[in-house]
């Protein structure tokens, strides 16, 4: 089942890429396949039962490279199921939004289907090489999306910067994986086996180097400061869909790597590095928020809030490595981190799609170019307002649930985590400022004659925001999945 979920989009991509099917067929095939993926993941969640003793559900394993003990090993648990669901939903929303893409729509659909396969595969991977294969392929796919369909003047340059930067990260990750492989006895790339063995437990020096390589690779992808400089240009020059996928799904690969590999496989080293991770998280939260506040470009602003929001995740996983506090607080922090990944994906995906509408109509993201959009584009303004409030963490949306847990858990572990609290305030300020500049007042500048959102734009955005609302109102839907897995993870880190 899991393998077919991963390969379905890939097969569809190949079918669209090779024969020259009409554009219309390509667009609707894309939507149909992503909708099928949502249904399949829904079935998977419906049939999912929390595996006993921290194991995996829907596990599949097939021979691949036996000589290095690497196999096609996929499986899910409470950490990966929410991200699989997020991936399916975001890509489906993008497919609907993509109906309006008129630049090479067939290749566009094929590319994003292939990209979806790599994301699905990454979140299901239980083998380091499989994980790495999908990690690297997602970079290649995103590069093609920015370079081929980006709309900035410097799209090629931004794409190259993105590729070089994240590729450096991925090679650091590969070095870390090789280190783990060589440390394990017998040598293996299998993630559950590595977690069970925790091979570098008694080797502080080697463990430190291997964890440093893993952290570098994952931090570039997340991104945390000081490795975030590729993100704003990549977002500015990517298309709306590209940005949505990049922010909503690809960034999660970094933080997912923390909870899937770095924390459970190297508990000792992780605890040693916990203060550093915590510090980087706090710095990312504050720095991301402050720089976002200073932006004059709507899309860059949203990009910097991504750094801020992912900072909460890093803060929480750092706190989870501090043994000072109680187990319950650390579990809460991890649950909050995973919830934040989902929440950020839904909300930021919606915001980037809305920003795409701005560019589509006028070609400008500058906040000062607009004003009074509430009058000329009431639906757009309403959706943007909802997205902005959800993103700044207003109760009833998923962001609140996530950030509440992150802070409750982290501050419960160490009071130092409270330093990051002003981040929430700054985020509120910057979103209110953006709302004020874009939406309020009399229509002026480019707002005059601004066409409101069309159905294909409004439907995916509404869908994503409704899901965020659902998680905000009925958080147990998501938390029931995550909580047992975070208990297992905290247990493993405490070894």
């Amino acid at each position: 089942m899991l393998s077919s979920i991963i390969f379905l989009p890939l097969v569809a991509a190949a079918l669209l890429a090779v024969p020259r099917v009409p554009d219309r067929v390509a667009r609707w095939t894309w939507i149909a396949v992503t909708a099928a993926e949502v249904v399949l993941v829904g079935v998977l969640i419906a049939r999912y039962e929390t595996p006993a003793d921290g194991g995996l559900a829907f596990e599949e394993r097939a021979r691949w490279i036996p000589s290095v003990n690497s196999s096609w090993h996929v499986g899910v648990d409470g950490l990966s199921v929410p991200l699989l669901a997020l991936t399916a939903v975001v890509f489906c929303a993008c497919a609907v939004y993509g109906l309006r893409e008129d630049r090479r729509p067939r290749q566009h659909a094929a590319l994003f289907l292939a990209l979806q396969a790599t994301c699905m595969g990454l979140f299901a991977a239980q083998d380091l090489i499989v994980f790495f294969v999908f990690f690297d392929l997602s970079i290649v796919g995103m590069y093609a999306a920015i370079a081929g369909w980006g709309h900035g003047r410097d799209a090629g340059r931004s794409a190259l910067q993105f590729f070089l930067y994240t590729f450096l990260g991925s090679l650091a990750l590969l070095l870390g994986f090789i280190g783990l492989y060589l440390a394990a006895d017998p040598h293996t790339f299998d993630i559950p086996e590595l977690i069970a063995a925790a091979p570098l437990q008694d080797h502080p020096v080697a463990g430190g180097f291997v964890l440093a390589a893993l952290l570098l690779g994952l931090a570039v992808k997340t991104p945390t400061i000081p490795f975030h400089t590729w993100l704003p240009p990549a977002h500015t020059d990517a298309s709306a869909i590209g940005s949505a996928v990049l922010a909503a799904v690809l960034l999660k690969m970094g933080t997912y790597g923390f909870v899937r590999i770095a924390m459970p496989a190297m508990p000792d080293a992780w605890r040693g590095a916990a203060w550093v991770v915590l510090g980087v998280g706090i710095a990312s939260v504050l720095y991301g928020a402050l720089v976002a506040l200073a932006q004059t470009d709507a899309k860059r602003m949203i990009a910097y809030t991504s750094i801020n929001h992912m900072g909460y995740v890093v803060l929480a996983v750092g706190a989870a490595g501090l043994l000072g506090g109680g187990t319950a607080a650390r579990e809460l922090a991890v649950t909050g981190a995973v919830t934040q990944m989902v929440s950020h994906g839904l909300i930021t995906g919606a915001l980037f799609l809305l920003a795409g509408v701005l560019h589509d109509r006028t070609g400008s993201y500058a906040l000062r170019d607009y004003g009074g959009l509430a009058r000329s584009a009431p639906v757009w303004s309403g959706l943007f307002a909802v997205g902005a409030f959800a993103s700044l963490g207003i109760p009833a949306f998923s962001g609140f649930i996530a950030e509440f847990q992150v802070f409750a858990g982290s501050i419960g572990t160490t009071a130092w985590a409270a330093i990051a609290l002003p981040g929430i305030l700054i985020t509120a300020a910057l979103f209110l400022r953006a709302l004020q500049l874009l939406v309020t007042g009399l229509p002026g500048g480019r707002s005059i004659g601004f066409t409101d959102v069309r159905a294909v734009e409004a439907v995916p955005v509404t869908g994503l925001l409704l899901l965020s609302l659902a998680i905000g109102v009925l958080p147990w839907l998501l938390l029931d999945l995550i909580t047992p897995a975070s208990a297992v993870l905290v247990d493993l880190v405490g070894r």
Binding site: I129, L137, L160, F167, A172, I178
Partner: protein
């Protein structure tokens, strides 16, 4: 120790094929030279079948390990490394002929080219298979002389200059290799590697160092590694496409396996792993930096092949300290051969294109060819799930396992640098523009090669099972 010449059937097929191709070519009229091509291909297929049948059944990570290794005539080892080399060389020469048909068909020197390709392939196999210094010298000459001729085959000023440069450097390295072989055999009291292993252990370190370095210099020329790499970019740019594809692929296979066999028997106290590791680091770094500025696609690939030699020297460096080294070397060589030839097949398929900008419009006009280019270049970078990714994975693992973790970091940084110039080419291919006309045979070779690149990467289990038992380490 058996002495049956039949054990060397694949080599005899190549030799016989070369002779018959040459003779047939001399008597055939110009427009029917395709018969010579068929003879060459038939000889290669026969060599491939006999090599596959003779593939050693025992699987072992080390050279001739397991006690049941077979040595023919006291100088030709029939182990897994030889078996893999035979298969890869034969497949590589077949692919070279496939991508060269459009370029060579009907030219004045068609049959001679096929003869030289077969002889050069034979030389590479002899280099890789021998464990005797004298046969190594013979293999060196057999592998390098056809290359000089192939480079000079097209009558352009660039080719003439490149041929002269290749010849001069080759002559120098050949003399060095002979000198080194003389010194080593003199102090060890024998030319066979078993004698070297025993004799050199008690010999003065300085003499061992001089002799071994001189022999290694010859092999580095053949492989195209620093500091004897200067001929590679010139020859790649100046020679015809098929010749360039051949000289950047086949001699390397033989020379690197030969280097691994030699380093394996070199004794302490000299730090051979460190020394070869430094050569590897210098080779990949220098070549990558040089490739950054290239605008000619052939020259860029020429530097790229030099940088790949850097990665290939990594397992050679650790050959005596980890059993993972030889399987890693063989996997990388196989992956590199098919990938590099695919890239050259794309060059051959667009014969009019010289500079990177000439590839504009390729993706629009020839999406299949552009896909082959994407796959081959991403494979050269080492992106999964391609052939060279598998090679890099195993090579990095082996080098780290062998105690050269710093070299792995250097190689990783170099990989990022290499991405820069490979992407420049890809970006041009996806820009709009008027593409040059394409050639059919080469396009087929490019597509076949691209499939091969993916097959090696995805069928990693089969490939690694072939090259050695290998639970690495």
């Amino acid at each position: 120790m058996e002495q049956s010449p039949l054990m060397l059937l694949p080599e005899l097929c190549l030799l016989g094929g070369a002779v018959v191709t040459l003779l047939a070519g001399s008597f055939l009229p110009r427009q029917r030279q395709w018969v010579a091509r068929l003879i060459a291909v038939a000889a290669l297929l026969a060599a491939a079948v006999s090599a596959a049948l003779a593939f050693p059944s025992h699987q072992d990570g080390h050279f001739g390990g397991g006690g049941d290794m077979e040595t023919v005539f006291g100088a030709f080892v029939l182990d897994t490394a030889t078996g893999v080399t035979r298969l890869v060389v034969v497949a590589a020469v077949l692919l070279v002929i496939g991508l060269g048909v459009d370029e060579l068909a009907g030219t004045a020197r068609e049959s001679e080219t096929y003869t030289l390709l077969l002889l050069g392939g034979l030389g590479a196999i002899v280099l890789a298979a021998t464990d005797d210094l004298l046969v190594l010298a013979v293999g060196f000459l057999l592998a390098s002389i056809p290359v000089y001729a192939l480079v000079g085959m097209v009558r352009t000023p660039g080719a003439a200059e490149a041929a002269l440069k290749t010849y001069l450097l080759g002559a120098l390295s050949g003399i060095l290799l002979l000198l080194g072989a003389t010194v080593l055999s003199g102090i060890a009291g024998g030319t066979a590697y078993v004698d070297l292993a025993a004799g050199l252990a008690v010999a003065p370190a300085a003499a061992v160092a001089v002799g071994a370095l001189a022999v290694l210099a010859g092999l580095l020329f053949e492989a195209g590694g620093v500091p004897l790499h200067q001929w590679v970019p010139d020859a790649t740019q100046g020679a015809g496409t098929a010749a360039a594809a051949f000289l950047t692929t086949v001699p390397k296979i033989g020379a690197l396996v030969a280097a691994a066999r030699l380093v394996d028997v070199l004794p302490g106290p000299l730090p051979w792993p460190l020394l070869v590791g430094l050569l590897a680091a210098a080779t990949m770094t220098l070549a990558n930096l040089a490739a950054l500025a290239q605008t000619d696609a052939r020259r860029l690939l020429g530097w790229s092949t030099v940088s790949q030699v850097g990665y290939l020297l990594m397992p050679v460096a650790v050959v005596s300290s980890t059993s993972a080294a030889v399987p890693a070397l063989l996997v990388y060589l196989a992956g590199y051969a098919v990938t590099n030839l695919t890239a050259f097949a794309v060059l051959a398929a667009v014969p009019g294109a010289r500079s990177l900008a000439d590839f504009r419009g390729l993706a629009r006009q020839r999406p299949g060819l552009a896909a082959a280019l994407v796959i081959s270049l991403l494979s050269l970078v080492g992106t999964p799930p391609t052939a060279v990714f598998l090679g890099k994975l195993t090579v990095f693992t082996a080098a780290w396992d062998g105690g050269l973790a710093w070299l792995v970091v250097v190689a990783a940084v170099n990989t990022v640098v290499s991405l820069f110039y490979y992407l420049r080419w890809l970006v041009e291919a996806f820009r709009p523009g008027e593409p040059a006309p394409t050639a059919d045979w080469a396009r087929g070779a490019a597509l076949a090669g691209a499939l091969g690149v993916l097959a090696v990467g995805l069928g990693a289990g089969l490939v690694t099972a072939l090259v050695g038992d290998g639970t690495l380490g």
